[in-house]
Structure formats: structure tokens, C-alpha cells
Symmetry: C2
Subunit: 388 residues, 2 copies
């Protein structure tokens, strides 16, 4: 059974670029902007960073060069920099590895950065050039998640109208967020009338292709107050990997993700959380497709399996609900530069916990959750963050 590093690591600074079509910024430009914003936020000089972790999924798209590109972007030479890649959970897993390194005593202050440059050389549906197993089996990313969405609605009811509620909510939140890729409201009618990508997903059920970077500075919790009073503590960490080809797995029920269930169980155990629906105040979760957010409610324990339709329908995950989900606008509206997303979610949760989220501020934000889901639902990473 896994141990715990609860309350041993603090986040003292966060930074994030505007997400969107960043044609005017290189991979390194975005890294530098996000990292220097995090340094300023942590009130440290860059030299204070002893080690860094870079989360990036496809460093060869858009000329990314992994660890050395972070070194060159920041002139961070002669120090340890690790690149972590874990499908769409890349950013959160980079953070997890950095947190364990700080907790081990190896480093006092570390940087985590996530970045992806997708617009200059789009991934074209996770196709052959990426070598992704989806393609080998004739599937695309929307197709994989659509299979599960259809099975889910067959078993529990709900349908495209349910999905539209998620899209409307997340676009509403994104419209309040000056860093979001799409800052526009959409109506349920617009969502329902959009072109179909893979039934039941229409265009507004799918997250966009986005450029962006985000960063966080972490340190030993016992020295955090040297930097700022309102630091945030790492309460729980969990990562779980299942099969890369779940459609060959006879145990796959197509109504949820065992990866999210296992990762959140590990994070909750470390954080000492027994009733997540009551204890978690808000969450940034992986809404690569609108249905994914619905199953996330259930797999994360915010409600029981099959009750996600009701959860969104009753407005419980809205900004004013009892458990706001994706106050940032989510992947749907904020965008999804793969390796950046997890770190961007940490940026959002820290901003909310500090009470600095402005028009999209969640009430009584004391314990927030971050959730990434990667591959065909095969990799999940959950991070629980809290005020001291």
C-alpha cells in the first residue's frame, strides 16, 4: 500500500499564458512567459529553482525539444530538468513527480511547466503520424469516447441534451475567464444544432486544438511562508494506468473509467478524504468531451454511477452549485494544449483557493481537485490541493 506525502509540499507561485491560437509565440516563448509569471508570483529569482519538470506530450509537433527547450527558454543551465509524458495526464504527472522529489528532500524549490504547441502542426485526430493505438484499430479520439457515451446513455438514460448542458456551463465559465481560448457563451440550441463529429458528440461537445503553457513553483511546505502567506498545500496525489486498448478488455463496461476511480481512490486516501462529494469544494476535471465530464462526476465520487445526468441537470456543477466543476471553462472552453492542461488546472485551483478568480470565483474554496484523463481513458491523475 502506498504511503503519503500529505502537507509536505507547497505551491508558492503559478503562471499561465493566454490559451488559444498563439501563432506569434514559439514553444519556448510560451514556456518562458508561463515560468516567469510563476517566478514573479512566487516572489523568487529564477536562480532559486533547483530542479524542473517539463510536461509535454508531442515535443516533435511544433518543434518542441523537451528538457533542453526548457533549459534554453529560461537559460536554466546546469540544473536537472526531467521531461514527463503520460498522454493527456502529462501535466499533472509532471507535477506529481516534482512533488515527490521535493518531498524526498532532494530539492527545496522546483519548477513544473506544461506546454504544447498544437496549432502550427495539428495532430490530425491522433492519427498514424502520432503512432497512437487508436488509429491502428480504426478509431479516433472522439470515436473512442463516443462509444462509451452511447453505451452510458443506453444504460442510464440522457442524451445529447444532457451533453449540451455541460457545454453551455463550461462556455459560460470560459466567457468569464480572460485567459480562455473561447470566451463566448453558447446556447443549448447552438450546441444541439452543431455538426456531428462522432455521435453523440457535435462540434461543441469536443475540446478545441489549442496552444498554451502553464507553470507552478513548488517548495518544501516548511519553508513556504518565506515566499508568501497564502501558499497552497498538496493534500493528495494519485495516478493510475489501465490498458491502452480497453476495447480488447472483456472487463471494460464502457460506462466509466477505472483509471479515474483508482487514481482518485489513491489521492483521497492520502488526503484523508472519505466523502469527496461533501469534502471537495470545487474541481477542474478533464472534459475532453462533454460526456467525459459526466462520467468524471461519478468516477471521482461526486455522485454515484448513473447519477451524472442528474448532477449536471440540477446545476450542482455550475459556478453557483454546491460542487462547481470547471470554473475555468474546462478543456471545452479554456482549450487543451495537452501537456499544459494539467498544470493550467493547478493554476486555476490555486487561483481559486487564493480567492483571486474574479467573476468566476467559487464560494468557500478551501479544498480543490485537479483531474486529468489520458489516452482512451487509460491514464488518470488526480491531485487534491488545499489551503493550509
Amino acid at each position: 500500500m502506498a504511503g503519503s506525502i500529505k502537507d509536505q509540499v507547497a505551491i508558492i507561485g503559478v503562471g499561465c499564458t493566454k490559451f488559444g491560437d498563439n501563432f506569434d509565440q514559439s514553444f519556448e516563448d510560451m514556456l518562458a512567459e508561463a515560468a516567469f509569471a510563476a517566478f514573479a508570483d512566487a516572489r523568487i529569482e529564477p536562480e532559486r529553482v533547483e530542479a524542473a519538470w517539463l510536461g509535454t506530450f508531442s515535443p516533435y509537433a511544433g518543434n518542441g525539444k523537451a528538457s533542453v527547450s526548457l533549459a534554453d527558454a529560461l537559460r536554466l543551465y546546469g540544473k536537472p530538468i526531467t521531461r514527463v509524458e503520460n498522454y493527456c495526464a502529462t501535466g499533472t504527472d509532471a507535477f506529481r513527480n516534482a512533488a515527490m522529489a521535493v518531498a524526498s528532500g532532494m530539492y527545496d524549490v522546483a519548477l513544473v511547466a506544461g506546454v504544447e504547441k498544437l496549432k502550427d502542426r495539428p495532430m490530425r485526430g491522433l492519427g498514424w503520424e502520432s503512432g497512437h493505438p487508436y488509429q491502428h484499430d480504426g478509431l479516433t479520439a472522439p470515436g473512442v469516447f463516443a462509444l462509451s457515451a452511447n453505451r452510458y446513455f443506453h444504460q442510464f438514460g440522457g442524451g445529447r441534451e444532457t451533453l449540451a448542458k455541460v457545454s453551455v456551463k463550461n462556455h459560460h465559465n470560459g466567457a468569464l475567464n480572460p485567459k480562455a481560448h473561447f470566451q463566448m457563451e453558447v446556447s443549448e440550441e447552438q450546441v444541439l444544432k452543431a455538426p456531428i463529429v462522432a455521435w453523440p458528440f457535435g462540434l461543441f461537445d469536443c475540446c478545441p486544438t489549442t496552444d498554451g503553457a502553464a507553470a507552478a513553483v513548488i517548495c518544501r511546505a516548511d519553508m513556504a511562508r518565506q515566499f508568501r502567506d497564502d501558499y497552497v498545500l498538496v493534500k493528495g496525489l494519485g495516478l493510475a494506468v489501465t490498458s491502452g486498448r480497453p476495447w480488447y478488455d472483456p472487463a471494460n463496461d464502457y460506462i466509466g473509467f477505472a483509471s479515474t476511480q483508482a487514481a482518485s481512490a489513491e489521492a483521497y486516501r492520502m488526503a484523508g478524504i472519505r466523502n469527496p462529494a461533501a469534502e471537495i469544494d470545487f474541481a477542474e476535471v478533464h472534459d475532453c468531451f462533454t460526456w467525459t465530464e459526466i462520467t468524471n462526476y461519478e468516477d471521482l465520487g461526486f455522485c454515484r454511477k448513473g447519477e451524472g445526468v442528474q448532477f449536471i441537470g440540477e446545476g450542482r456543477s455550475a459556478l453557483a452549485g454546491d460542487l462547481p466543476v470547471n470554473p475555468s471553462g474546462g478543456l471545452k472552453s479554456f482549450g487543451h494544449p495537452i501537456g499544459a492542461s494539467g498544470v493550467r488546472m493547478i493554476y486555476e485551483v490555486v487561483t481559486q483557493l487564493r480567492g483571486h478568480a474574479g467573476a468566476r470565483q467559487v464560494r468557500e474554496a478551501e479544498l480543490g481537485l485537479v483531474h486529468n484523463l489520458g489516452g482512451p481513458g487509460s491514464v488518470a491523475c488526480v491531485i487534491v490541493l488545499g489551503r493550509q
Copy 2:
């Protein structure tokens, strides 16, 4: 300044496939063979593994699929698996992250695996398809290292005859090693008469293109004796990254690698080593090209800058020398499946420290060093391992 996790992590099992043209084995086949060998060596059931790290550089070459491919190869489902990539230092950096995670208290027992499948879809000289910055600047991997080799010989003397001595030595050692890609002696004359790849490097100065996998099981040092008495302790860890395009750096002297110097300084500080030439008993170092081994002697502190020519000339790094280097045969002879190499070096050092290396056994092996060098000399990782 960085802290220390000296003596907190133990290696209790290692495994390694035969390296070579493994056309009959998939990426997953090799992972499974290496990991199950390590489980057997550690005398544990696979279920005992709480978390895993996978080092692989080019998961899209040869249909590798990163974290999920380790999960599928081992049926290691529902557990945390991180993929680390750091150029040719991928395997050692995966080990470093796993060691810090165990030292943090998060996990008691963890698996590190390194793998690369290069023969089915060769990388073709780190060309455009890999998006490597070499190619953007008109350089290949041999070309990059050849630039430095020429500058080095211009400044310190030596030449192709010096390089040939490294090749002869490493082929001699590899001929004693049943898992090496090339198990054949070469003569100095053969090396010197081989076709030139990039002056001063001929064919026998360059490591080959190889398939392979290696694995290690690590645990908290205080529980290592439960598994086996002859466990090995992690004494020092260091990683350092410099510019990805050193030829644009006016401070680059082309006679050595600042990355290796910084990474070894960090590892020696943690291990408490002041005089590496006297204290390190043997080493597995990154001889991607024969000249690289010569500069490694100097950058690792086995001799002073410029004395590497003498170091190889006097046979000090031979199996019977006072500081044997690459008793395994090195990258030159054992092969270099990128992400596997660092873990394979750990396999060799552990085997030597146990006294189980047979015909290639080093005398009085109590403290061994592992060194990986990645990119155009931009990433170095150093690990010091010792008997208790």
C-alpha cells in the same frame, strides 16, 4: 543547494534482455522479459510493485505506446506508471525519478524499465522525422560529436589511433558478455581501416542501432533485506541539462561536456565522494562515440582535462586497469537502445557489485558509477551505486 537521499533506496532486482536485432520481439515482449527477470531476481511477485517508471525515447518508432504499453506488457493495471524521456539519458532519469519517489515515502517497492525498439523503424540519423534540432542546423549525431573530437585532438593531441583503443577495449569486453549486441573482438587495424562516418569517427567508433530492454526493482533501503542480502544502495544521483544547441553558445569550448561535469558534481556531493578517481571502482559510461568515452574520463573526474588520451593509452580503463570503464562492452559493443541503455548500465553495475559478472568481472567492485549523456551533450545523468 540540493539535498540528499543517500542510502535511502536499494536495488533488489535487475533484468535485461539480450541486446541486438530483436526482430522476433515486440516493444512489449522485451519489456515483459526484462521486468519479469527483475521480479524473479528480486524474489517478488509482480503484484508487489506499487508504482513504475518507464524510460523510452521514441515511443512512436516501432509502435511503442509509453505508459500504457508497460501496463499492457505486464498486466500492471490500476497502478501509477510514469513515462520519462530525456534524450539518451532517458533510462537513468527514469531511475532517478523512481528513486526520489521511493525516498519520499510514497511507495515501498517500484519498478524502473527502459526499452527501445529501433531496428524495425530506424531513426535514420536523428533526422527530420524525429524533429531533432541537429537536423535543423544541418548536423547529425556523429557530426555533432565529431566537431568536438576534432577540436579536442587539436588542443590536446591524440587522434584516430586513440579512438581505436577505446573501440578495441569495449569490443574485447563485449566479447565476454553473452547479452551484448556484438560479441566479437576487433583489432586496432580493423578500426582504423573502417569506412569513415564523420571524421575522425569510422564505423567502429560509433555505437550501433539496437533493440533491447532492461529493468530494475527498487525499494526502501530499510526493507531491502526482506528480499535479498546482497542489495545495492543508491549513493548518489545527479542530472544536468545545458543548451540544446551548444554550437550557438559562445561559452562552449568543444573539449568536454558541462552537463556531465555538473551532473557528476551533484552525484558526488550526495555520495560524499571527493576524489572520484580513487573512490570509484568502475564505471559504465556513455560511449555513443569512442571520443565521448575519452572526454567522459575527464568530465567525470577520473583524470584531468586533456589526460583522457593517456588514460586509455595506459590501459587504466581496461578490465584489468585500476578504473575499469564499460566492462559490459559499453554502447559500442553492448548496443544502444536509447531508453534502455541507462537501465542496462544499472543492470551491469549491480551485477558487478554482486560479483556475478563472470569473465568480465571487475576486481574489488564496491562502488560503481553509471553515466548517460543525451542530445548534443546537453543532458547528463550520473548515478553512483554501492554495496552496503
